[in-house]
């Protein structure tokens, strides 16, 4: 399955879930498929997405979905263990695993040496290495923050 097809399937099934995306092409593809104020695009700080999702899920009753790539998960693998410790009922993690750092030229990751779903309750979707041309996220980071925070506090 192409990654953007997996993203379309996820994003078109959402209602008011809060979505935290991960650094790299995943954020751009999510932006291209369905931009919404409930999306928080983590463009820098690789590996932070799941931790942000945990902090959010601890403090809201809304459903929180983290969509991460294998590279971003591997760089902070310990956070999967924290997720498994906390077992937050309103937090879901989907890992789109293409076994490479695609944004930087397709160098292989070590994701084929681990079963993420043995560490925590997450959904791993194996995706092809693809290079669909999608635009850069054309929203300033401060605006992503502002509109997301408003979306969290709205009914």
């Amino acid at each position: 399955m192409k990654r953007i097809e997996a993203i379309k399937e996820i994003m078109h099934s959402l209602e008011d879930e809060l979505v935290i995306t991960s650094t790299g092409m995943i954020s751009r593809e999510i932006y291209a498929v369905r931009d919404r104020p409930e999306n928080f695009y983590v463009m820098g700080s690789m590996g932070a997405s799941l931790g942000i999702g945990i902090g959010l899920a601890l403090n809201t009753k809304k459903k929180v979905l983290v969509i991460a790539g294998d590279g971003g998960v591997l760089i902070s693998l310990g956070t999967l263990v924290l997720m498994n410790r906390l077992r937050l009922p309103n937090l879901k993690l989907v890992i789109l695993d293409n076994n490479c750092y695609q944004s930087t030229g397709g160098q292989k990751t070590c994701s084929d040496a681990v079963n993420f779903d043995r560490i925590c309750n997450c959904e791993v979707v194996k995706v092809e290495v693809t290079s669909d041309s999608v635009p850069r996220i054309n929203i300033p980071p401060q605006e992503i923050t502002r509109r997301f925070r408003n979306a969290v506090s709205s009914q």
Partner: protein, 110 residues
């Protein structure tokens, strides 16, 4: 859950004795604090000064560009023995680089 996240230090053990779950790294604690703030709540993070080195990226690549205020920091300041010396000397510089001013420093001398 009182939104207190961090990695322990022996010098902080009295200060954080109510914390139930420790994070697996200092930058993870800083990431949880981002999520907390996005939900409209305040977080406190705690760590030893060596952990500040791990926080540089998330503060400079996430907090700053996204205009997210840094959480209150409870920081133990270690300078001894030798393996703490270099980070001890660099601690104020690290805080300055991150523009950190919202903190309580627990000095090992106290």
């Amino acid at each position: 859950m009182k939104n207190i996240f961090g990695v322990p230090c022996s010098k902080l053990k009295e200060r954080i004795k109510d914390v139930e779950v420790n994070c697996t790294s200092e930058e993870e604690a800083m990431a949880l604090a981002v999520g907390t703030w996005l939900a409209g709540k305040e977080a406190t993070v705690y760590m030893q000064n060596s952990g500040l080195c791990r926080c540089l990226d998330i503060v400079l690549s996430l907090y700053k560009p996204y205009s997210i205020p840094v959480p209150k920091l409870i920081l133990s300041l270690r300078r001894h023995p030798e393996h703490h010396l270099f980070v001890g000397e660099a601690t104020q510089k690290l805080l300055d680089i991150m523009g950190y001013n919202n903190m309580e420093i627990v000095d090992e001398e106290d």
